[in-house]
């Protein structure tokens, strides 16, 4: 008799815990659609790509194009700007990583690595970067600041002619978007 009672109790315990678990897991699962509805949907995620021909850009000229709702800075750099960027020793940089979506995540922040596309092709004249300060998302001003390159007016982050953070609160260099050259001057971003 007593063994039957124990069995009954353990069966009840099992049903009690199982019901509670199903209830808790069910509630958690039901919450997910309400959380996920806020995430970017498929139409936003669809990697919209932007094509741009840099041939008309004169030396020292830059344009801003839109990609995924973000500004992308494309600049035809002057010889002096390229020189300034290449001669900086890596040890002087605040962020030593290239932050180039086309390269491995640990690629060093040399100027060569900042201009490479997905196939490793590069033209040091053309710098393509996402024009969003890595601090709190403002759009930096061009041809401004101590390096006469990019300067964020919001909280004073200073970027050099390679878009690398040199001083101020921003933690990272300006991001390089995924892009590739389809001809010598034409690129596809995204």
């Amino acid at each position: 008799m007593s063994s039957t009672t124990t069995q009954d109790v353990s069966r009840r315990d099992f049903l009690y815990i199982a019901t509670g678990t199903v209830g808790a897991v069910g509630t958690a699962l039901a919450a997910w659609p309400f959380i996920d509805q806020m995430n970017p949907d498929a139409s936003v995620l669809a990697l919209a790509s932007t094509e741009f021909d840099m041939a008309p850009l004169q030396e020292g000229q830059g344009v801003t194009v839109m990609w995924r709702g973000k500004p992308v800075f494309i600049r035809h750099r002057t010889k002096k700007e390229i020189e300034d960027a290449t001669k900086v020793p890596l040890a002087e940089l605040k962020d030593p990583i290239a932050r180039n979506a086309n390269l491995p995540p640990d690629a060093p922040a040399t100027d060569e690595n900042r201009v490479k596309d997905a196939n490793g092709k590069a033209n040091p004249k053309y710098l393509v970067q996402i024009g969003i300060c890595t601090h709190l998302g403002c759009v930096p001003l061009g041809e401004a600041g101590p390096f006469n390159a990019w300067f964020c007016p919001c909280h004073g982050s200073v970027y050099d002619t390679s878009g690398r953070i040199r001083s101020g609160p921003a933690p990272r260099n300006l991001d390089i978007p995924p892009f590739k050259y389809v001809s010598d001057t034409k690129i596809v971003i995204g």
Binding site: I35, C138, L141
Partner: protein, 407 residues
């Protein structure tokens, strides 16, 4: 409130309702006969003032929604339509925009009153902590409301504030994209901000209800910070404090309406009359004045994550205040040393506000850093130490005695 004295109402309808749902008994016990310390000064009127501002914000907000369109292409124009075409639209919008600022003004004074008179100490810790939650919910509400007109300042405020969460290691980017509903602040962001801006004030109203409930358990603190000992120490809330509160509310509304009618954009920024442009950041973005101290602390730290942590910590630390201040004496009237540090603290908050409005460089950056250090030192070092070291002044035996000494 235990087995509260049930009142015998003479009106039979009132009596019939009250015996089934005792709303009339409750109102009479809590809003009319409620025993209130007889020595409350005008600093105690700001709770009622803040509640009045919440009601004004709710009413003006609900009618503004009847004319506002939450869409990136239409929001800015619909606000301009409110200003130009909608009957009295200009009045409703200016009441709402300035109402937010004056709501914060009332709440900040209310908080500093609590700090000075030790209203956060036992047995009012929960009351204080609900107040801190109200402050944080208010900040979220005000921020999302500021985004809705979709001007340049609105847009870039949304960008900068949402990007605060990108400072979180590893999952920061994912969280920010979840907040945005995309890869940048865009239409999904505006629509969810609108939804939440409508929801949160009702959450605030519920929190205010809990705040008042928690107040009515121990009753009011008072300028002498001593407990009520006998009925002699109290007055019924009505008419003594209903009338005093009402008078203070009217004076406060006079100042508020002076801004609404004569200088409605005094606290605004002209650049917000330019429609949002994701490609151009205004040269100098500053938040509304009521966020400037926190903004100054954010910028005082030369590290992204550090700045964000310090800014949020400046609010979170208030939750711990009841246990950081070790002194048993509530009112700073009887704590002459702490009083000096308190006023330094109040000045520090104003200085942070001024520094937050300046570009973050040179001497202002240094000022903001020193002020940030003092802000935290006041809570983490000065109050815990003074609780042990300071010898308080002798306290009166009762509220009545304290009142009689002055006269």
């Amino acid at each position: 409130m235990s087995s509260h004295a049930s009142y015998e109402f003479s009106n039979p309808v009132v009596r019939w309702i009250d015996s089934r749902l005792p709303v009339f008994s409750l109102m009479k016990a809590q809003a009319m006969d409620f025993p209130t310390p007889r020595n409350l000064n005008y600093w105690w009127t700001f709770g009622g003032i803040a509640a009045t501002m919440l009601v004004i914000q709710l009413i003006t907000g609900i009618v503004l929604v009847m004319h506002f369109t939450p869409h990136v292409d239409l929001a800015f124009d619909s606000v301009e339509k409110i200003m130009r075409d909608v009957n009295y639209g200009w009045l409703l919008r200016w009441l709402h925009a300035n109402g937010a600022a004056f709501f914060f003004l009332a709440v900040y004074i209310h908080i500093f009153r609590g700090l000075y008179y030790g209203s956060y100490k036992a047995p009012r810790e929960i009351l204080w902590m609900i107040g801190v939650i109200i402050l944080i919910a208010m900040m979220a509400t005000a921020f999302m409301g500021y985004v809705l007109p979709w001007g340049q300042m609105s847009y870039w405020a949304a960008v900068v504030i949402t990007n605060l969460f990108s400072a979180i290691p590893v999952v920061g980017e994912t969280i920010v994209q979840w907040l945005w509903g995309g890869f940048s602040v865009d239409n999904p962001t505006l629509q969810r901000f609108f939804s939440l801006h409508y929801l949160l004030p009702f959450v605030l109203a519920a929190l205010v209800f809990l705040h008042i409930w928690a107040l009515h358990v121990p009753g009011n603190n008072n300028p002498d910070g001593i407990d009520v000992k006998s009925e002699q120490d109290t007055l019924p809330f009505h008419p003594y404090y209903t009338m005093k509160d009402l008078f203070a509310i009217l004076v406060f509304l006079l100042v508020y309406l002076a801004f609404v009618f004569y200088s409605p954009w005094y606290m605004g920024h002209a650049i917000n009359f330019v429609k949002a442009n994701p490609l151009v950041t205004p040269a100098h973005i500053v938040p509304e004045w009521y966020f400037l101290p926190q903004y100054a602390m954010l910028r005082a730290v030369p590290d992204k994550l550090g700045g964000v942590i310090v800014m949020f910590a400046s609010l979170i630390i208030l939750f711990f205040l009841p246990w950081l201040d070790r002194s048993k004496v509530r009112s700073l009237r009887y704590r002459p040393v702490t009083r000096i540090f308190f006023w330094l603290f109040a000045i520090t908050c104003v200085v942070l506000g001024i520094a937050g409005a300046q570009p973050a460089e040179g001497v202002w950056l240094l000022v903001a850093r020193i002020a940030t250090i003092y802000y935290f030192a006041y809570f983490l070092v000065i109050l815990p130490l003074l609780g042990k070291l300071e010898k308080p002044k002798p306290m009166p035996a009762s509220i009545t005695e304290a009142v009689m000494q002055k006269h």
